[in-house]
Every structure is written in structure tokens, then in C-alpha cells.
């Protein structure tokens, strides 16, 4: 019987081995690489869920950069450069623009000034910059098939700066699409940009496909940032969704993807081990980290409590907790992004080093009486969670504080942060978030610096003087004046408003296979795939 059993076992093991070998043997090296020649495969920062950059910014902006074109674009140095516009004249309050010849949408129709004006009107209803311009623009009208005019109510030298908003750019859509209400999403993606979207191949959460637009007319200037010649140099681009950072890098190493738009900090050391991988720092694309304070309720309705928070922050501890390496962050004590032209150290000196004793004294001077300080923490967002936990530890260095950490998912946090009730009654006191550098690059577009009370961002800072300083910044004509005004505004923010607590700057890096592609650009915010060439 034993012999028979042994034979059975051997036979069984043999068949199991054969099954395993059969499965493994059917694969060959590189089998997962692109089957379609001329295809660039990129892992982008997040999944595309909507096609309309007006109703749903975020990753949709990146999609829109592929498909649509813009009037003006930011170059590598964040300067405003013409893109669809051939030339323009500036009067006292009148801007007259002419489009470049030969621009046409993917459906073959010509781009006209009617499309531009309709797109401008829709954009101005939703984006912060557009809403600002809506208060300044008296009229936007066509002036011929390819010319249009924008008339301002008063002189506003920063007009083009605002029109060329890098956070929510004004993309030119077909007039029929732009006629939709700004709260209703456009469900097609027919632009005049360098790539055509392929809707039938869009598999949400897995793959987005674009093909080269052969009729795209690029500018003659070389590509720089989002400006210059944006011509597609590959036939097809596939955005591959790989949620796990370690798998992203493994796929890059095997050549299954050519590039990772934003490589996770903890994977950079792993990527550096492979000499075929190039790491490209994107100075304009980092994440500025901040703690938002609810200024409606105690203790942060008092400026001294807000300044106390500035004293508690140790940016090294916080950023190490977020990134794990000093190479992946920079300390930044300015309210403006530290790589932007208007960053300064004005007013920051007292807060460069953590001082829990000073914080405790200021909380006492603010009249703190043990009210709950509710810190909301998004449990499934590891970077924000880590920063929140380090911040929580800092708060606990002041024994008198009644700190209540509340863990939740991001969706619940987004809902609760809109709640203006007291922290102990369903409201909140603190949460951590990040902003793109471009959102904090100047006073006018400073998303988190608005202090117009109920109309400000969550936390609802309310400081009429600061708000007046911020909004009048666009009236200044010279760069020297603007820099001086930005310094004055920052001093005011440190002294009175404290619209948020700066926690540091996390760098953003693109990883790509230099033996497979070339021409990857360092871009503001998102990275479209024009200008990139395949080498293999």
C-alpha cells in the first residue's frame, strides 16, 4: 500500500508541478510591454473621473491639458506666455486678442472667437480667478471670427496673470459645450489640443487613452512648462492606473510603463537603485502643507491662539513624518510658496523654532478655558494622517489643551469641514491639507489666504484690512511694488489674520525611463505628455 501511496503522491506532485510550470512558462520577458507601437504609458497622480475641467478640476485639468488648448500658458518659470493667442493689444481698460491661424477642434470645426468668449463666461462662473475677473470685466465680446475683446471696469494690471491661472486654467471648448451650465458637466472631450481623447477605450479606474492630433498647430517657441510648442511626438498615450506606489516603481523597472508623474517619496530611494530611471524634480509642482484653523469658535477665534499654533510647529518633525527623508521636503515659513517670487521671511522670525512655552502663554492670554480642540484626521490619507499625528503630539506639549483627535475618512472630513457648529457640537478646530505651490504663488490667487469671512475657505478667516490688501495687489503695476505689497500682506497675516499655519513644502518628483523616452518637461502642477519622444 505504501508503494502505491508513494506513486500516487509522486503522480500528484508531478501534475501539480506541470500545472505550475505551464502557467509560468506561458510568460516571456517583457510580455506586458506595450503591444501598440508608438504608445507612451504613464502613471498619473490620480484616476480620471470626469471630463469637464470646469465642474471638476483636479486630475481633470491634466486631461484637459492633453485635449484642450489655452489662450495663455505658464512656462517653466511660471511666466505668462501666449498659446492660442497670436497677438494682443492692451489699452487702458481694453484687451484685444487675435487667435493664431489654423486652430481647429478635433471634430474639424474651426476655433472661433465665439468659442473663446463662451468658454471664458463658463470658466468665470466656477474658478476662483474667473470669479475675481467677473467682478472686474465689463464686457467680453467677439470682434470678428478670430478676434475678441475684453473690457474691464477699471485698470487692472494683473489681468493676464489672473486670466492665466495655472490652478484652474481657462480651456477653450466648443461654443456648444461651453453653453452648458457651469455646474453641469460636459461629457464629451473635443478640444483643439495636441491629443484626441478616445472615449471608447476609457476604462475608469484603469486606463485613459489619447491619440495624437495630426491637425494640431504648435507654436514655434520650444516647449517650456505648459507654454511653447505642445506638439505630440508619440502616436498614442495611455494613462495607466496603478494605485500602489511600490507596484508603480516595479512596473517602471520592467518597462510596463515609461513614466510616473508623481513618484511617492518612499519609493524614490528604490527608484534611484536603477540606473535606467531618471528622477526629475518639479520645483513648481510640490505640495505646500498647511493646518487650517477654525476661526469661528474658541480658541482660534482669538489671534493669540492662532499665533500659539505657529509657535508649536516644528516643520522638520512634521515633514519627516510625512516624507521620511530630509531630501524630500523644504522648510517654508512664508505664507507664500517658498519657490514663488513673492515668498519672504517678513514676520516669520518669531516662529522659526518651536516654542511650546510661548504657545502655552499665548493660549492663556487668549483666554483659553479648556474648550475642545477637535483635530480631524483623514485615516486613509497616509501623508495627511502622519502630519496630523505629529501635530497632535505638538499640541499635547501644552498640558492645558483639551485636544480631541477624530479619525475619519476623507469623504467624512470634507463634509464635516463645512460644518460651522462649535467643535464640541459636530464642528471642528483643525485639519491638515495641502495646496499646490501655484495656489499660493501671489496674493490674488492665494486660495488659502482669502480672509473675506463667510466667503473665505474653510476656517473662514475674517480680516477686512488683509482682504483689502490682498485684492488691491492686482492694481499694482511694477514688480517692486508687488513684492513690497506681498511682504506687507504677509506681515499682516502673521500679526492678525493667521489664515493658516504653514507646515512645510513637500517636493514632487517625476520618474521616467531615460533609456525609453526623452523630452519629459518640468511643468507647473500637472504633467501632460506632449514633447515626449519614444526611444525604443
Amino acid at each position: 500500500m505504501n508503494n502505491m501511496l508513494s506513486m500516487n503522491r509522486r503522480r500528484l506532485l508531478g501534475s501539480l508541478a506541470a500545472t505550475s510550470l505551464g502557467a509560468a512558462g506561458s510568460g516571456v520577458a517583457g510580455l506586458a510591454r506595450a503591444q501598440t507601437p508608438g504608445t507612451l504609458r504613464a502613471v498619473v497622480a490620480s484616476d480620471l473621473r470626469s471630463l469637464d475641467p470646469v465642474t471638476t478640476p483636479g486630475v481633470t485639468i491634466q486631461h484637459a491639458l492633453m485635449v484642450y488648448d489655452v489662450l495663455f500658458a505658464r512656462n517653466h518659470a511660471l511666466e505668462v506666455k501666449p498659446q492660442m493667442v497670436a497677438d494682443w493689444t492692451v489699452g487702458d481698460t481694453e484687451y484685444r486678442f487675435t487667435l493664431r491661424p489654423g486652430l481647429e477642434f478635433h471634430d474639424g470645426s474651426k476655433v472661433t472667437s465665439a468659442d473663446v468668449v463662451a468658454s471664458y463666461r463658463r470658466w468665470s462662473q466656477r474658478s476662483a480667478s474667473g470669479q475675481l475677473l467677473a467682478t472686474l470685466v465689463a464686457e467680453a465680446r467677439e470682434d470678428g471670427p478670430t478676434s475678441f475683446v475684453i473690457v474691464l471696469k477699471r485698470k487692472f494690471p494683473a489681468f493676464l496673470e489672473v486670466l492665466c491661472d495655472p490652478v484652474t486654467p481657462m480651456f477653450v471648448m466648443r461654443q456648444a459645450d461651453a453653453a452648458k451650465p457651469a455646474t453641469e458637466a460636459v461629457t464629451t472631450a473635443i478640444g483643439s489640443g495636441p491629443f484626441r481623447f478616445v472615449p471608447r477605450e476609457w476604462l475608469q479606474g484603469s486606463r485613459v487613452v489619447y491619440v495624437r492630433n495630426p491637425n494640431y498647430v504648435g507654436r514655434t517657441e520650444p516647449a517650456s512648462g505648459w507654454a511653447g510648442n505642445a506638439t505630440a511626438k508619440v502616436e498614442r498615450v495611455e494613462w495607466i492606473s496603478i494605485p500602489d506606489p511600490a507596484t508603480q516603481v516595479a512596473a517602471l523597472r520592467t518597462g510596463e510603463v515609461h513614466m510616473i508623474e508623481n513618484i511617492a517619496g518612499e519609493q524614490i530611494l528604490e527608484a534611484r537603485k536603477d540606473s535606467r530611471i531618471e528622477l526629475l524634480d518639479n520645483p513648481g509642482r510640490g505640495a505646500y502643507t498647511l493646518a487650517i484653523l477654525n476661526q469661528l469658535h474658541p480658541p482660534f477665534d482669538n489671534v493669540k491662539a492662532r499665533q500659539a499654533m505657529l509657535h508649536l510647529v516644528d516643520q522638520d518633525e512634521l515633514m519627516l513624518g510625512a516624507t521620511g527623508s530630509p531630501a524630500l521636503y523644504e522648510k517654508c515659513h512664508s505664507f507664500f510658496a517658498c519657490n514663488s517670487p513673492y515668498a519672504s521671511d517678513e514676520g516669520a522670525a518669531p516662529y522659526r523654532r518651536p516654542d511650546p512655552a510661548a504657545a502655552a502663554r499665548l493660549f492663556a492670554e487668549a483666554g483659553y478655558r479648556g474648550e475642545p480642540i477637535v483635530i480631524m484626521m483623514a485615516a486613509e490619507q497616509p501623508i495627511w494622517l502622519n502630519i496630523s499625528q505629529v501635530l497632535l503630539a505638538a499640541l499635547r506639549k501644552v498640558p492645558s489643551l483639551n485636544v480631541r483627535p477624530v479619525s475619519m475618512d476623507w469623504g467624512a472630513l470634507v463634509a464635516r469641514r463645512a460644518n460651522k457648529s462649535p467643535p464640541g457640537s459636530g464642528g471642528w478646530s483643525i485639519f491638515v491639507t495641502t495646496g499646490a505651490s501655484t495656489s499660493l504663488s501671489n496674493p490674488l490667487m492665494h486660495f488659502f489666504g482669502r480672509a473675506n469671512c463667510d466667503n473665505a475657505w474653510f476656517g473662514w478667516p475674517c480680516d477686512e484690512q488683509a482682504e483689502q490688501m490682498r485684492t488691491s495687489w492686482g492694481d499694482l503695476a511694477t514688480d517692486a511694488e508687488r513684492k513690497a505689497a506681498a511682504r506687507a500682506l504677509q506681515a499682516r497675516w502673521f500679526q492678525q489674520t493667521v489664515p493658516f499655519v504653514p507646515l512645510g513644502f513637500m517636493k514632487t518628483t517625476t520618474a521616467y525611463r531615460k533609456d525609453m523616452i526623452r523630452g519629459v518637461l518640468s511643468t507647473p502642477l500637472r504633467a501632460p505628455q506632449w514633447n515626449i519622444e519614444l526611444l525604443t
Partner: protein, 313 residues
């Protein structure tokens, strides 16, 4: 049997309805506002309110729930609040990777685990038996994502045999699909192989000690006949139970594997929908999962009667 099946299916309608109501309540109680999430950081309060109205979120709880139930009864699963895509299309896009992964995992688990369990049971306490028991314990203990990373390292990065990520649909050819499924299936199967192998081993050891096995041997039955005709048949119900539970719990297990291997399946769709409070998608997925569980339980119950004639349905 037909009456039994109909009664069970009738009861399942009530179960599905109750499950749907509970899940709908939980998504509301857990907080979160899809309009706020959809609107993004830059939206004004007026924009958020307009979006909320468009999504129908201004309606009372029960009106929303029964409105959803009414459309489902008419064969319409609704539209995603975020992508404006019909939920049925979203599920159809994501169903194939999860279904093929689940089937591959179950088949692999049975094919690998049952023979291992039988071999271990043939010689209890032998080195082979101890190896199987110890290996099963390790397989239970190691988290799936670590197994996934190790397999990627070995078979993709070092040997270059298999892709790291992605899914090739069946329409691209069975061979392509299987290649993309090998590593995820191996990762997901490990714990089920351990579970089934131990179940098989324990059941077989128990049955092999029974009097009727001794009688069969005395009557001259060979080992193969004893193992497969008598012992395995009497262990089959326990194995079927574990397989049934495995299919039901796989829907939860696939989330991690789909994330590690970048598979666009239902697990990731579920997580995304919950995070975004995309109620129509959540509800449809729960409906699907509950229905699947009921059908699997029913099929397993019917199979009990097939493998063991003493059981009547």
C-alpha cells in the same frame, strides 16, 4: 427541489431588501456629502448647493431610498453621481477582472489544496503532514500584500516572466488573461489553499478512522478507491462549505490584490465609491454582493444533496 429553490429565492428578496436599507442608512450615518466631494476645494456654497440639487441629495432619506429601489425594480441601477456613467456600465467594466480572478482563485485553491490535504491525511504526523500544517499556518499569517510584493519581485523583476500589473481582458485571448492573473491568483489563493488543505486534512483524518473505511479495506478495496470513493466523498461537504465561504469572502479579499496588482475590478470600484459617497454605485455593488452570496449559498446547499444522498432538499 424546485419548490425548495423558489422558497429560498423568495426569502432572499427580503434579505437583499433589508441589506440594501441597512447599507443605505450606513452610508448616510457615516457622514460625507458627495456634492462637497464632487465640487472640490474651489466651489462656492452656491455651487455646492446647485450640485446637491442636481444629485437629488436635497430629498428626504426614505424618498431617496425608495426612489432608488423603484428604479432598480425597473431594471435600472442608476447613474454614478461622480462620473455620470450608468452604474450598470461601471459594474460591467469592472466585473470581468474580479470574476476571472475569483474563479481562478477558487479553481487553483481546490486543485492545489485538496491533494495536499489528502497527502497530509494519509500519513498523519509524518514529516509531510507537519510540513503541510506548518506551511498552512505561515500562509494564514502572512498578509496578502506582502505575498504580492514578493511574487512581483521574484517573477517580474528578477525572472521577467510575468507582468507586474494590469489586466488583459478575455477578448485579448485566454493566454493573455491568464498571464495577467497568475500572480494575483497566487497571492489571493495562498490563504484559501491553506484553509482548504487544513479542512481536507482534518476531514480525511477523521473519516479514515471510521469503521466503514476499515470494512472497505477488509473487503479488499484499494487505496485509491478508499480515498476517492469513500473518504473524500464524506469530506466533500466540509470542503464545499469552505469553498462557499471562500467565494463570498473573496469579494472583500480582492480589494488588496486589485490594488497591489493594479487590476480594475469591483473591489477598487467599491472602495472608490465608498470614499466618494457615490450612493448609487455603493447600493448597486451591495445588491450584487448580497445576491451573489445568496446564490452561492443556495448552490452549495444543493451540492450538499448531490454529493451526499442522505441530505434531502
Amino acid at each position: 427541489m424546485l419548490a425548495y429553490v423558489l422558497i429560498r429565492l423568495g426569502g432572499s428578496v427580503i434579505v437583499v431588501a433589508v441589506v440594501s436599507l441597512i447599507v443605505f442608512s450606513l452610508t448616510v450615518i457615516s457622514g460625507g456629502d458627495p456634492a462637497l466631494i464632487f465640487a472640490g476645494d474651489i466651489a462656492s456654497a452656491a455651487d455646492v448647493e446647485a450640485i446637491r440639487l442636481r444629485m437629488g441629495l436635497d430629498q428626504p432619506f426614505f424618498k431617496r431610498f425608495f426612489g432608488w429601489a423603484f428604479t432598480v425594480l425597473h431594471g435600472n441601477l442608476g447613474t454614478s453621481l461622480f462620473t455620470s456613467t450608468p452604474v450598470s456600465s461601471l459594474i460591467r467594466q469592472r466585473l470581468e477582472p474580479t470574476a476571472t480572478l475569483t474563479v481562478a482563485t477558487i479553481v487553483t485553491s481546490i486543485v492545489v489544496a485538496v491533494p495536499i490535504g489528502i497527502m497530509a491525511a494519509l500519513r498523519p504526523d509524518s514529516w509531510l503532514d507537519q510540513l503541510v500544517v506548518a506551511s498552512c499556518s505561515v500562509a494564514f499569517a502572512v498578509p496578502g500584500f506582502i505575498v504580492g510584493y514578493v511574487l512581483i519581485y521574484l517573477f517580474s523583476l528578477k525572472l521577467g516572466l510575468l507582468p507586474v500589473q494590469g489586466y488583459a481582458p478575455l477578448s485579448s485571448g485566454l493566454g493573455n488573461t491568464l498571464r495577467t492573473l497568475v500572480l494575483p491568483t497566487a497571492t489571493l489563493s495562498l490563504v484559501y489553499v491553506a484553509l482548504l488543505a487544513r479542512t481536507t486534512r482534518a476531514g480525511m483524518i477523521d473519516v479514515l478512522a471510521q469503521d466503514f473505511i476499515r470494512t472497505a479495506r477488509a473487503k479488499g478495496a484499494g487505496t485509491v478507491r478508499i480515498m476517492f470513493r469513500h473518504a473524500l466523498r464524506n469530506t466533500a461537504n466540509a470542503i464545499l462549505t469552505v469553498v462557499g465561504l471562500g467565494i463570498a469572502s473573496l469579494l472583500g479579499g480582492v480589494v488588496i490584490v486589485e490594488t497591489v496588482f493594479g487590476l480594475p475590478g469591483l473591489g477598487r470600484l467599491t472602495v472608490d465609491a465608498v470614499m466618494n459617497r457615490d450612493y448609487p454605485v455603493i447600493q448597486a455593488l451591495i445588491l450584487l454582493a448580497a445576491s451573489l452570496k445568496i446564490v452561492v449559498n443556495l448552490v452549495i446547499d444543493l451540492l450538499y444533496a448531490v454529493v451526499d444522498r442522505r441530505i434531502e432538499v
